[in-house]
């Protein structure tokens, strides 16, 4: 009798632990997926609909690294580098012309996302490619088995997010980016080289999407449409986390992860998605009124 209740209790605890670990893994993934958007959209005000394709390109970098026979871990810094350069080039030839023009930004980055998907299809075909899990197997901790790679993903993703956020907030760089968005002429008049700063910031946003892509590549198929599934959650995280502080990315990722994990546990994924969208709409309304109140 007491033995049965004991095992039931234990099973419940283990199930809860597993949910928590799943939630943690989702939180870390959301944070790294949204980090770049936090920079380009949250800080710079660029509605970058190609952010998902930056992640997709990062995943293909991981695929190429695997095909070349190199360690998967090479792909993380390499994807960051490749995407930094790609982001910088895109800033110079496209984004630079459309700051503060949201309709044009939406059109241009939507077009860019199509171009990047088509290019991926041209180079790699539509086929689902796979990047094998570099650390197969599971680790037992807290009484449950959990994939070892997920632990590593959590560590690398959160490490990247925290280091990037510290870099932005501890140095003057984040403030400078915000100043340029607030008033470009005034920023120039304060001696800020706005052109260079924007290239760097957009490049960094893209680079962190590259890291995200390399990290998620072993979790599923690598294919041209991979980015489409990440874009909505990335926007959701940034909107929930708020635009005024880059640390909001962590807050947003946490809130979205908790809501989604809980709802998936008690209801299902559809309800989780609906709840997330409602959350986003409510947050947008609240932010709009607080912004209006502040400027009034």
């Amino acid at each position: 009798m007491s033995r049965t209740t004991d095992t039931t209790w234990r099973r419940r605890l283990n199930a809860l632990t597993l949910e928590l670990l799943n939630g943690l893994s989702l939180f870390a993934t959301l944070a790294i997926v949204a980090l770049g958007l936090g920079i380009t959209f949250g800080l710079m005000g660029v509605i970058n609909l190609a952010h998902g394709e930056f992640i997709m390109v990062g995943a293909y970098v991981a695929f190429v690294v695997h095909e070349a026979g190199w360690s998967h871990w090479v792909s993380v810094p390499l994807a960051a580098g490749v995407l930094f350069v790609l982001g910088a080039v895109i800033e110079v030839i496209l984004i630079r012309r459309i700051y503060r023009k949201p309709e044009l930004t939406i059109l241009a980055t939507f077009g860019l996302s199509i171009v990047l998907r088509q290019l991926a299809e041209l180079v790699f075909s539509k086929d689902f490619q796979s990047v094998p899990n570099p650390v197969p197997g599971a680790t037992e901790a807290l009484g449950v088995l959990f994939p070892t790679y997920r632990y590593i993903l959590v560590a690398v993703a959160l490490g990247t997010v925290v280091v990037t956020l510290l870099g932005f907030t501890r140095s003057k760089f984040g403030l400078v980016v915000r100043a340029i968005v607030a008033d470009r002429d005034l920023a120039e008049s304060a001696g800020i080289r706005t052109g260079v700063t924007n290239v760097l910031a957009f490049g960094l946003g893209a680079a962190s999407a590259g890291v995200a892509g390399a990290l998620v590549a072993p979790l599923g198929a690598v294919e041209p449409n991979l980015g489409l599934s990440y874009l909505p959650s990335a926007f959701l995280v940034v909107i929930v986390g708020g635009f005024s502080r880059l640390w909001g990315v962590l807050v947003g990722a946490l809130v979205v992860a908790v809501v989604q994990t809980t709802l998936i546990h008690y209801y299902d994924a559809v309800w989780a998605l609906i709840a997330s969208l409602v959350l986003a709409v409510v947050m947008l309304q609240m932010r709009r009124s607080s912004v209006a109140g502040a400027t009034a």
Binding site: V176, R178, A179, A182, D185, L186, A187, E188, S189, G195
Partner: protein
Amino acid sequence: MRLEARDLCAGYDAVPVLHGISLAVESGEIVAIVGRNGVGKTTLVKALMGVLPATGGQVLLDGVDVTRRPPSHRVRAGLRATYQERALFRELTVGDNLRLGGFAPSVHHQVLDKFPDSLSGRGTQRAGTLSGGEQKMLAAACAIVSAAPLILMDEPSEGLQPSNVDLLGRHIASAREHGSGVLLIEQHLALAERLADRFVVLEKGEVVEEGHAGDDHIHDRIAKRLVI
């Protein structure tokens, strides 16, 4: 350091405002620009800084043509400006404005204490929520404490109470003592006359009168231009 405009032209879209302005200001002197509303004084400051592209003529810093260089380049070369409108990042805090102005946290108090009714303790307030006069004082204090070799000030006394106008005048004079040159755009003629070594009067985007502080009847010559 010497800032020079040669036949400078500038305007907005298709509307020309400045029609060939030539003037110069050097470190250690105060040059007052006066002229009625809408003659193009603010446009001149923007064109000298480069936030408004010149449509003709040249801007030179120590003889080097910077007409096509961005404002940040000119600032790094020693030029600084306080604008008439939007002189601060209104969305950012007072402290962040000071950091962007190049002031380390340890010297923030020097800027904030420049005027009485000190702004110290307001570091975390959003600059846009300071009163109009407070914003003017903060912007002027930033420029003066920066000790830039050349400072352009677009109507710094606008909206200040009389005692603060006096204090502003003493600060500008002391900036000159410390070697800064100031191009002072000023509607407050008494203040301009108290400070300036030279005068330039603008009318419809052109220089119509120039003079030195000691010239005969200089007050009448300027005043006549401003009344009609």
